[in-house]
Amino acid sequence: MKALLRALAVAPLLIAACGSAKDAQFSSNALDAAIRTAPAVDATAIRPFVEELVARRGFETPLLSLYSERQGITHVNSLAIVTEKLTALGYAPVFEPFGDGALAGTNLYVDLPGDTPELVIVSGHHDAWFQSGADDNGSALAVIIETARALRGQHFRRTVRLIAFDREEEGLLGAQAYTDKHAGDRIRMVLNMDCVGYASHEAGSQDAPTGFALRDRGDFIAVLANGPARADATRMIHVAAQLPMPVDVVGLLTPGDSDYPGVGAFLRSDHAHFWFRGIPALFVTDTADFRNHHYHTPDDQPDTLDYDFLNRVAQLVAGSAAAFAEAE
């Protein structure tokens, strides 16, 4: 009886000990790849890209949204400019149209081939509300372009795939089409970005979903992990600490695929379709409307972004992509 009581008393402690993460760090060669890659981001190219993207959306007639006739979707010129930039960097874009009529769209991806076909995906959506979308999601497209630039000419164990999804704003349609079509792919990691360029150092500038406590100042980049990617969020924080221009990272580790009522806010971008399939994926975000009051308005303009912050995020994502691609 005493032994049983003793076992019952010790059990929670053992469970707690097992629950604490192992020391999740990249190997030194993977960290070297990150440190080598991150500085190749061209900080001077980021703002001009976002400004050009938003300017060209201004020449596009928005589609009527499925949800509101007052709001329109632009997604044609964004696809064109991403195609031009990636082609200029030496990549060969692959286009994957999906859907019909009002729900039609086109995903785009490019590959940096590795030793194996196992993928490390860096993604973001290219469609936008209105003719603006500087933070949502021009900032992520800028990071994709800079990741392409930083990885160019390198060779890793895994293949790196850069994807620009379409029609995210109306129900993650591009990501759904992609994951349906590529269900058999082996994927080591997805780094999906949505809104990564807005920061504020003012007290009270950061909000959080009901019941959650985040920092008061919106000066960090959030990295949300599903169950299979929990240790990878820790790895990404270690990468951030190693970079010459670090960015403050806050990781939110969710259970399983996060399909629970209290964490629905964490499923608001294309990574959700990877989470639903149990694929390790990290969602990189400035937390959108929990910080940026221009979110989903015509005021989401290039001059509202913090380009030093965005440059640091670009270095973090490019470096992390290299590390995940090179890690054993």
Partner: protein
């Protein structure tokens, strides 16, 4: 007529005998020291409510319910243990061990208690450059239990709107641990 008189007389004798026996019981002396008396009784109970644990390092929350057992070791003092399941940030559980003191006020039996509680299962954990490793999966808390609306109608007990309020023990973090019980129904034996 004579027969009716006999019955009436018999009833009177029986009633007076019962009354005498009752009077004898009321005035009976307390048992001598060492005699066997009941030392306590059990009260299993069902509880439903809302649980919330939040610190800088994690959040668990949800609506659910569970089972508990009170051991009344004295007319006023009880020890209790309970387990609950709740769903919101995932499939989460909690367990508590504590002691409570009752303050009988007629049919009401409000109580206050002190308990140690653990929270586990699914949760959202927060990491950053200062704390890159997630906290242990079990969170501990010290809580006070307040149950002012507790009604006893033996062998049943019904408690409405009781609360457990306290603080979590996550390292280097302030933590709030709250459970609101909407309804708790027990049975004493």
């Amino acid at each position: 007529m004579r027969a009716y008189g006999r019955v009436f007389a018999a009833l009177c004798i029986a009633t007076s005998a019962a009354a005498a026996e009752k009077a004898e019981k009321v005035t009976a002396p307390t048992p001598p020291a060492g005699a066997t008396v009941p030392k306590g009784f059990f009260e299993p109970y069902l509880a439903t409510g809302f649980s919330y644990y939040a610190s800088d390092r994690r959040v668990l929350a949800g609506v659910g319910g569970g089972l508990g057992l009170r051991l009344h070791v004295h007319r006023l003092l009880a020890l209790y243990g309970e387990g609950r399941y709740f769903l919101y940030t995932g499939n989460s559980v909690s367990g508590a061990l504590g002691a409570s003191v009752a303050f009988p006020l007629g049919p009401f039996d409000p109580l206050v208690g002190l308990q140690g509680t653990f929270y586990g299962g699914d949760q959202v954990q927060v990491i950053d450059s200062a704390h890159p490793i997630p906290p242990p999966s079990i969170a501990w808390a010290i809580q006070a239990r307040l149950a002012p609306l507790r009604l006893v109608h033996a062998p049943y007990t019904v408690t409405a709107l009781s609360g457990d309020v306290g603080f979590g023990l996550d390292a280097r973090s302030r933590a709030l641990a709250v459970t609101v019980t909407w309804l708790d129904i027990g049975f004493r034996f």
